[in-house]
């Protein structure tokens, strides 16, 4: 039976993912067992840091960066040896759609968005290192990190394969790291 490890933020997304993937035959991973699917939910606590004219809570931003971005790196690093087969291993991440720098003007949100954007860079760097070894990646952009319906869309996206032809780099969607929303639209970084 395939296993999934859901880490990062707890909450309705995490719960929804666990329910959906269990229905699809996945077992929640336990230490000591081989792992097939890794999911990390990027969700720094929402702040009131919305205007530079108001006092920003720098201590909070530092703490959330450590607890979210650096913790994500640490968790991935510790998890990599547990994968059953790196050729079939998949690392998935859920970030908020407002992590997009290019579309920063389209969404509200506070300065915790700098942490979310940094996480996308960390994933891109991991992709560069791990994709040539066989690992595949998914990044899902959620409109609402508290909406359990997003969990179903994300899970379906995580389980589906993308086009991949060893002979043709251009024909292989699996060789690009992109962030997609529930409409399968690519969200620019």
């Amino acid at each position: 039976m395939k296993t999934v490890y859901i880490s990062g933020a707890d909450g309705s997304l995490s719960k929804g993912l666990a329910e959906y993937l269990t229905q699809k035959g996945y077992q929640i991973w336990k230490p000591g067992h081989p792992l097939d699917l890794f999911i990390y939910i990027i969700k720094p606590e929402v702040s009131n840091n919305k205007s530079i004219k108001e006092p920003l809570d720098y201590v909070y931003l530092l703490k959330e960066y450590e607890n979210t971005a650096l913790e994500m790196l640490k968790t991935v690093s510790e998890t990599l040896p547990t994968f059953r087969d790196k050729e079939k291993a998949r690392l998935c991440f859920i970030n908020s759609i407002d992590s997009s720098i290019n579309r920063a003007n389209d969404f509200d949100g506070g300065y915790e968005r700098i942490i979310k954007a940094a996480c996308n860079m960390a994933i891109r760097t991991m992709f560069n290192r791990l994709r040539p070894m066989g690992y595949t990646f998914r990044v899902y952009a959620a409109y609402d990190m508290d909406d359990p319906n997003e969990a179903k869309y994300a899970a379906e996206y995580f389980l589906a394969n993308r086009s991949f032809e060893k002979e043709s780099y251009e024909h292989s969607d699996e060789n690009r790291l992109v962030m997609r929303d529930k409409f399968e639209q690519e969200i620019p970084w």
């Binding site: 920003l56 960066y65 790196l73 920063a104 979310k116």
Partner: protein
């Protein structure tokens, strides 16, 4: 006389910027992090009237506020803020991460430092006579779209965070009359890692000269925030 505050002015690009702005006749407030480093004192002898050296650690709010009080006693408005102070570092390979704790300090200096500076100095910048120009030294390393690195993590992450921070500042302050420069200085023979990099492509004074041109001249497309390098090439986010 136009006025500018430059953070991380002790050496490297920050020192080069200080020199270029002074030679162009600007009043320069040079943020000094390393009082033991001699170059700024040498420049002070050449420009005793127009160079003010101010103690500044952008990672500490109290230091930033103290700097503000010193500067605000000397001028009624500030034309330009250049957030240059930055440090580098690596957390190594994902299979064997090292010194991940350094990432907190790098984020504090590179990503939060510029936010502290803008926040503290807004009262001096948001004046009718001010040029209202905010300049940030970023890096191609912060571009997710064209990221080529497969290790290191913490420095590129800090620059991506900076890019997002500047984008959020732009969203809030451009409608209030502020203009922005987000600058990638190229591969500079600087001191980012603590000692001088001898393998870079540009001397600090070269990229400082290009920065001066870009920071002080009008851009016909001020309503768009670009990441532009020292050779006027635009980089994606």
């Amino acid at each position: 006389m136009r006025s500018v505050l430059i953070t991380g002015a002790d050496r490297g690009l920050g020192f080069g910027l200080t020199e270029v702005f002074l030679k162009a006749g600007w009043l320069v407030f040079a943020g000094q992090y390393m009082p033991e480093w001699p170059e700024l004192d040498g420049l002070k002898k050449l420009f005793p009237e127009n160079l003010h050296i101010v103690s500044l650690d952008v990672s500490q709010w109290d230091s930033v506020k103290s700097c503000y009080h010193v500067v605000s006693e000397k001028i009624t408005h500030l034309d330009m803020l250049i957030c240059n102070a930055g440090i580098s570092g690596s957390a190594g390979d994902i299979f064997s991460l090292e010194d991940l704790d350094k990432g907190v300090n790098i984020f504090n200096v590179n990503s939060l430092g510029p936010l502290r500076m803008v926040q503290a100095f807004l009262p001096l910048l948001d004046k009718q006579d001010s040029m209202k120009r905010l300049c940030f030294i970023s890096s191609e390393a912060g571009s997710i779209s064209v990221c080529h690195r497969s290790e290191g993590f913490i420095y590129p992450m800090s620059k991506t965070a900076l890019n997002m921070g500047v984008k959020l500042l732009f969203k809030e302050l451009y409608p209030k009359g502020f203009t922005f420069r987000l600058y990638h200085p190229g591969w500079v023979r600087s001191y980012m890692s603590g000692k001088k990099n001898t393998q870079g492509k540009f001397e600090p004074i070269e990229t400082a000269t290009s920065a001066f041109e870009q920071f002080t001249t009008h851009n016909p497309r001020e309503d768009v925030l670009y990441l532009v390098d020292n050779e006027y090439v635009t980089w994606p986010f």
